[in-house]
Amino acid sequence: MSNTPEPILSVKEVHTYISGFHILQGVSFQVERLSVTAILGRNGVGKTTTLKTIMGLYKPSKGTVVFKGENVTGQPPYYITRKGISFVPSEKNIFSTLTVDENLKLAYNGPKDKISDKLELVYSLFPELKKFSGLRAGMLSGGQQRMLALACGMIREHDLLILDEPSEGLSPMYVKNFFRRLKLFTAENKKSVLLVEQNFAFAREITDYIYLMDKGVVVTGFSAGEIDQRQDVIRRILGVSL
């Protein structure tokens, strides 16, 4: 898409099978450094599988995942996390038997002496969580659990933040707020973001690149400025216009 020499993440011709089903049938795309990239597509086209394949939760049968210049295809998830990808799944993304504080501490993997600064930073982004810090995460409301999941994603040392449906289950007001905070956070801390989103309306203002997925492949990709010229393909793939 862009001419920047080295994207932070590049996925090439990835094929993934899940219990015999050919889910990803040659997925290719890239995430440029310091950009926010969104993958859009209808339910069941392989968006989550793409993210889980990047994370090493599924092993691709073909293709490569290159992160920061290193081929990480087929590496275990903990290794990929330590390399600097922070992944927030869309469901079951926190430990309900651990406290809010323990969730954040487990997520944090940077130098020990900085952990209290980091906790402070995350609690300032999500002040709602601070008063529940000693509570088991399973006791939180659905919206609060989602905030905790995002907070865990942000507190982890990373260069690339991957969010699977971050707005799901949050109120529209909150989603708007959240994307604003995310933009601020990534700009200040020099992070790249890859997100999969159904409610693209909210994410639109912070997104730089868009890829459209259909039936296990990435159909096309373009920069956010080109959305208006691409309305016909968007309508064909998503069934709605942006």
């Binding site: 275990p76 799944p89 926190i94 309900s96 038997t97 651990l98 323990e102 997520a107 982890r156």
Partner: protein
Amino acid sequence: MSALIDSLVYASMIYMASLGLVIVFGLMDVFNLAQGAFFGLGAYLFVTLYYVTGNLPLSLIVTATIGFIIGFLTERLLIRPIYGNPLAQLLLTMGLLTLLVTFMQLLWPSGLVFPETGDFMLSGYVTLSSISIRVYKFVVIAVGFTLFALVNTILSKTMLGIKLRSGTENRELAAIFGVNISRLFTLSFSTAVALALLGGAFVAPLTHATPDLPVHFSLLAFAIPVVGGMKSYSGAFYASLLIGFIDRFTAYFVPWLTFAVDLLVMIIVLIIKPEGLFER
């Protein structure tokens, strides 16, 4: 009085026999049927080592170390290839149980008696309200309770404990959180087997290494996660206390019913509260 102390002793023994089982099942979903056999092996090894060296701490350390090594090898060579296959795990650990029990019967066909020593802690007696009680019983109780306190502290206060609990709840998410699950599995399994052997070593001065020790404690250990909650680490302790008390008081008043009553408790819990009595 003596029934009370015996209950606590028995509870400690059961706890030591079952803790590893609960940890391994909680974290890895592997029900290690051979856990009780490892416990028995610990008793035999320890008594043998004690005869050879005459040195108690050394015998304990060597027993635990051998346990850790056996656990490490078992996990890497046998358990690792069959993660996620419960039937294969049951068959394999069943085979391991049979193998270990047969091995012990071959090597020590009539069991091993722990020798009388001049040591007060090991072989001495104290008189409490006109009953003479073996001092070592208090040692076993202390070890059991210390182990419980230690496990609780590790689970609630340390990073390792948080990792263990996260892996127990959701392995995939723990991996995303940067936990090296495969290393955690090896460490836990090795520690669990070391704990089993160490437990066997600790009870040996009281029970001696009898031929039926492995099977007896196997069955008791199986009852613990069922009664205490399959993935409840603290439940294992409370369930051990419950079974310990029920067993010893039954033994005191209705001796012919002992042991059957333990399994009866297990069956009753399975019927009325199949998820176990205690929460995670």
